[in-house]
Subunit: 238 residues, 2 copies
DNA sequence: ATAAACCAGTGATGCGAATCACACACCGTT
DNA sequence: AACGGTGTGTGATTCGCATCACTGGTTTAT
């Protein structure tokens, strides 16, 4: 049995599939060693909250396995999902660096494992290892771009259809077949999709019907087949 | 006559009103010196573009005086303004750090001055001065939070009224009087306000009428008086 | 001084999506 | 098998705001 990703990242960069791309990959020997000393690993059940919006930052989490839902909620209870994080992602970094409350809630969508690095240990480490600081700046700027994409989607994409098409496209990028179609395993409920694209559950339901009728996609069970990226791209205009 | 802010930031931290808060304040002597060597100052007329969305990053701009409009445009020409930058702000940092194209267009809204720091010089400097790198990470994370606020506003605030109220509040924070009211000089057109809150010019016009009728604010010429923050806060729900 | 641009206000109209209100399918429980 | 719980499909209705179409005011240009 293969060790989960996040562990590799910290324990052994040789087999880490994200080599160089992620925060703690390919650091010097000393830095890696230090990282191993300050991290602590834990397993979380489905539904566990790694941290909650508004809490003061305790540290960062490096996700090893499982998926994490990042969301914010308004006073009246409206919720938006800003991102679904996967193995290798670093969670809570912005809050730690600027020492402001976590800006989102991070909830495990399925059981999984994560490495925790306490705030103080991390800041000390960044002082001692400039290379790590630079790496972190790049991670931050990547986070920023993700957020920026979100802004474009919310601000520029007019209709729910457009945002839905955009979402489907973002899913299909990972697994494109030779004929332009692609399969995705759908792990989200309509409700959750609605919270991602900023609309209602009912509208998402109707979008599914509509897109199926237009032959843009079809689904059997949890498996979702996206017919043609091209057709979807025509719908997206932002 | 007083020197404009941004110049102080670089030339003389003693008189800089943003001491410690901004990217290049309170660095060591050597770092400040280096900064002075690699920066170059220029004056820009109204309407000048510091950089344009999609261009590869040439460097960062530190704004000395004047206001800068940051915006993105979709393929069909819909535009959103993501931020109005003022003296002391650092523009283009994210693009430079991650070496991706500028994600926004930066346009001078009024004549002003800015210091330019080329990409290469900056990255070299960050290698040589770890303190500067850390400072920059914090700036990046501040940028991130700004972007995040934007997401909350766009995603959670339902109606244009709500977003408009939120905008007014953000303006009034700067200049609050004893009685809870505050004066702001309005430098934006209705069209531009519409592009900030993601609605149409006409709707903004109507919002002005509505808010005036409800005694939330009134305006004479370019001077805008916000009656009561409290009343506005009741409208805002996110 | 007189266009030519640009900006602001306001009515009439129509569409899209939120809302409300069900019915139904699918799960693991007891 | 009968049961709540949770997710899904779909109609009918309402309402907000984008859109279109003007008018009048204000600034800039030549």
């Amino acid at each position: 049995m293969r060790a989960p990703y996040g562990l590799n990242i910290l324990d052994n960069c040789q087999t880490c599939p994200f080599r160089g791309e992620h925060l703690f990959c390919n650091l010097g020997v000393l830095a890696s060693q230090r990282l191993n000393e300050i991290k602590s690993t834990a397993v979380y059940p489905k539904g566990a909250m790694l941290f909650i919006e508004g809490q003061m930052p305790r540290g960062v989490f490096v996700l090893c396995s499982g998926k994490v839902k990042l969301s914010t909620t308004s006073r009246e209870g409206k919720t938006i999902i800003t991102k679904i994080s996967e193995a290798g992602d670093v969670l809570g970094l912005n809050a730690v660096i600027s020492n402001r409350p976590y800006e989102v809630t991070a909830e495990m969508m399925e059981p999984g494992q994560a490495n925790f690095i306490p705030r103080d240990s991390l800041t000390l480490m960044l002082k001692d290892f400039p290379e790590a600081a630079m790496r972190m700046a790049q991670q931050l700027s990547r986070n920023y771009f993700t957020a920026y994409e979100e802004i474009r989607t919310l601000g520029l994409a007019a209709s729910p259809s457009e945002k839905f098409a955009k979402l489907l496209l973002s899913w299909s990028t990972k697994t494109t077949q030779t004929d332009g179609s692609s399969q995705v395993k759908l792990t989200l409920t309509h409700e959750e999709i609605a919270e991602i694209i900023g609309t209602t559950r009912e509208t998402v339901s109707r979008l599914f019907s509509e897109f199926k009728k237009k032959q843009l996609m079809h689904s059997k069970g949890a498996t979702l087949v996206i017919r043609s990226r091209l057709a979807l791209e025509k719908i997206v205009q932002s």
